[in-house]
């Protein structure tokens, strides 16, 4: 029994609207922490910027990758649970209220509404009723008649279903989160660099060292950057060909903001760069002054002509320590242990020396590559559906409120005329409803004569 009490206690807590507000504020506060603390820092970055104690604190609570920590996800899970439990608790009540239609109108109760008004008409009941019905259906909407033996009564309603829109919004939040979950379990995100003229099928997965082989190859036929006259880039474009089982299945240009989808996998133009193809190198022997020239392909040993020595380019950077393009050249003297150094490509720098050679790069040929973001996300349709539902839900909550108008009229006992009573209520947007109600009262007053009482605010 105690166990049941415990679970009931938790259920009760989850059903409380206070928890909703608290969760919103806690999620907001923790998200703030995640924007103030740089995200995705590695071990080395942490060591450089923080003290040991701070690092312990950061890594224990996962502050450097806050949005992916278990406790942040737990908060989201709590929000979902709160949302589901609140819906289970309230939706039946809302539906019950929606299904209930009142059977009669009590003029005593009408006078107690915040918005109510009473008139007397000099006309007999039949004629008053006819005019009343036509005015109300013109100004407000169709009247559902609940007439009694001796009186006219009716209810007119607008936006009866609008209280349900809140549940649509709640469902939409669940849809978005479910879509995100499905995407993160069954989809992947990664990156591939494709050299101009080459075909690649391996994607490097994000956040891991693993690769993934696509069932087809991506060939980059050409990569091109165009510029505005002020030097800003105008467009990045890759001409791609997809090859499956040796056959070209799709040829398409890929631009930023214009992705390409094939077989459920989408490619995005994300970055670009270049690697070194080969370099024409000139070596000057600092002893003898002999000059040797040769062409060195990237990462291949070549013989230095006229000697027993060999050379290889093993690394290339487009901007080495802000000094411009540079490469690492290794030279092995007579088959011995190779020695190497960074060599600046565009500058004839005095530090460009290896062993007893002065090195000068006469020409470097680059090969451009295009950087593609690759992803598969089977949950995205749920996310889009959730977004659409959210907008419909919030939009209709704003634009439509549940407005209700009661009317009652009966012959004034002992006099010629007819007594009229109307009252109104809305679940939201009271000011606009007040204006609507007042307009209706003014028109009735003009039609039937003096108002005898009421509260119109």
């Amino acid at each position: 029994m105690e166990r049941k009490g415990f679970w009931q206690g938790i259920y009760q807590k989850l059903a409380s609207p206070k928890l909703t507000v608290v969760l919103f504020l806690v999620l907001a506060a923790t998200s703030v922490v995640g924007t103030l603390m740089p995200q995705g820092l590695g071990e080395a970055d942490l060591q450089r910027h923080y003290s040991q104690r701070a690092i312990w604190f950061i890594t224990t609570f996962g502050l450097h990758d806050l949005y992916h920590t278990g406790w942040f996800r737990l908060l989201l899970l709590f929000l979902c649970a709160n949302l589901v439990v609140c819906t289970i608790e309230r939706l039946p009540k809302t539906l019950k209220v929606l299904r209930r239609h009142e059977e009669q109108v009590d003029p005593q109760k009408l006078a107690k509404c915040t918005l109510n008004c009473q008139f007397t008409s000099n006309l007999p009941q039949d004629e008053t009723a006819a005019r009343l019905i036509s005015i109300i259906s013109e100004e407000f909407g169709a009247l559902r008649r609940l007439d009694g033996a001796d009186h006219l009564a009716g209810v007119a309603e607008k936006g009866r279903w609008s209280p349900l829109m809140v549940y649509v919004v709640h469902l939409s939040v669940l849809l978005v989160l479910c879509g995100a979950l499905i995407g993160s379990i069954f989809g992947f995100r990664g990156f591939m660099n494709v050299l101009e003229g080459e075909a690649v099928s391996e994607v490097m997965l994000e956040g891991s060292d693993r690769g993934l082989n696509l069932p087809f190859q991506v060939r980059c036929d050409k990569f091109d950057v165009s510029y505005y006259d002020n030097g800003m880039p105008r467009e990045f474009r890759s001409d791609l060909t997809l090859i499956r089982d040796g056959k070209e299945v799709l040829k398409q240009e890929l631009r930023v903001n214009d992705p390409l989808t094939y077989g459920g996998i989408t490619f995005y133009q994300a970055s670009y760069g270049a690697i070194l193809k080969d370099a024409e190198v000139e070596l000057t022997d600092r002893g003898s002054g002999a000059v040797r020239r040769f062409l060195a392909p990237f990462r291949e040993w070549v013989d230095i002509p006229g000697t027993r020595n060999r050379a290889q380019i093993i690394r290339f950077e487009e901007d080495f320590r802000r000094l411009g393009p540079a490469m690492v050249l290794l030279i092995s003297m007579a088959g011995g242990e190779p020695a190497g150094s960074w060599i600046l490509i565009d500058k004839d720098f005095h530090g460009n020396t290896i062993e007893n050679y002065h090195v000068k790069v006469l020409h470097a040929t680059r090969r451009p590559f295009t950087g593609l973001q690759v992803k598969q996300d089977p949950g995205i349709w749920l996310v889009w559906l959730g977004f659409a539902a959210m907008l419909v839900g919030i939009g209709l909550t704003y634009y439509v409120s549940h407005r209700k108008l009661w009317v009652w009229a009966a012959a004034d006992v002992g006099k010629e005329g007819t007594k009229i009573a109307i009252a109104g209520r809305t679940n939201r947007n009271e000011i606009s409803f007040e204006q609507e109600f007042n307009r209706l009262c003014d028109r009735l007053q003009a039609e039937f004569g003096q108002a005898v009482g009421g509260s119109r605010l």
Binding site: L25, T35, A180, N230, R234, N257, P259, V374, I431
Partner: protein, 282 residues
């Protein structure tokens, strides 16, 4: 030759005049002066609209050809326009003229900051490839309508909080200002309206990010701060409908929410950085 910068310059001072007219109307309790405030505000809105369209046309003349919504300057101009537009529609619907002081002041401040700050480049610049998309217009317009609604709500909240605290002292109500219940009600409608457009703004941004970068949510600081703003206003709406909060507490939440809007707009750019274009205008 009329240029967009001349029209936008006129707008700046027209908003100042408009704010002063509304303020004098409230201080001297003269409805006619406030009516002139409305007239000035509407005229300034029209001139500004012309200025924005002209700037759009000018960008085509230069050969860049994009909607004037691409950098900090253009977004500030649009923000001022949206604040005034939303306020004037609200004024027309609620028949409450005296609430115009704050919106007109905010519109003036946004225009003045855009025009006179050295940190804001007012030149028409070409679009980076990442921004070349029709989603740019949808995203910026929806976000700024949301921000503008929150700015108007912020003004109402300030008024609410000050009137609430002075109520016990003065006792008598100002004849031209709405009473506290009306202020609270107008404020709620404005927050709900802003919430709808902020949601639209976040969603269009999300769909666009998926198209440009292949991810609809990446916890970029700007994204995260827009979510924080959304959460604060969501808390406000739930506190009001579910817990029955009214008046002061709602007004204070709205003030905090607008603080988040300002941080999302400026703070993230200047302090945190990220993917958004005007993050590095300097």
């Amino acid at each position: 030759m009329i240029t967009s910068s001349i029209l936008l310059g006129i707008t700046t001072f027209a908003y100042l005049l408009c704010a002063l007219l509304y303020l004098s109307g409230v201080i001297f309790r003269r409805h006619t002066i406030m009516l002139w405030g409305t007239v000035t505000g509407a005229a300034a809105l029209a001139v500004q609209m012309a200025g924005i369209i002209l700037r759009w046309w000018e960008s085509y003349q230069i050969g860049y050809g994009h909607a004037p919504l691409s950098n900090l300057y253009e977004s500030l101009v649009f923000a001022a326009w949206a604040i005034m537009l939303i306020y004037l529609i609200m004024e027309h619907r609620t028949k409450q003229r005296a609430l115009g002081v704050f919106p007109a002041l905010f519109a003036f401040l946004a225009m003045a900051y855009a025009s006179f700050s050295t940190g804001v480049n007012s030149k028409i610049q070409p679009l980076l490839p990442a921004l070349k998309s029709n989603w740019l217009i949808a995203h910026v317009v929806t976000c700024f309508i949301g921000y503008a609604a929150f700015a108007v709500s912020f003004g109402i909240s300030i008024l609410y909080v000050t009137r609430e605290s002075r109520r016990d002292i003065s006792g008598s109500a100002h004849p031209l200002l709405p009473d506290l219940r009306q202020l609270d009600e107008i404020n709620y409608q404005m927050v709900l309206f802003g919430f709808l457009w902020l949601s639209l703004g976040i969603i269009t941004g999300s769909v666009w990010a998926d198209l440009a970068w292949g991810t609809y949510w990446s916890w970029d600081p700007k994204e995260t701060w827009s979510l924080i703003t959304w959460l604060i206003y969501a808390a406000l709406l739930h506190a009001r409908t579910m817990k029955g909060w009214r008046g002061n507490r709602v007004a204070w939440l709205s003030i905090i929410g607008f603080g988040c809007v300002l941080f999302t707009y400026f703070g993230v750019n200047f302090l945190l950085g990220g993917l958004h274009s005007y993050a590095n205008t300097k």
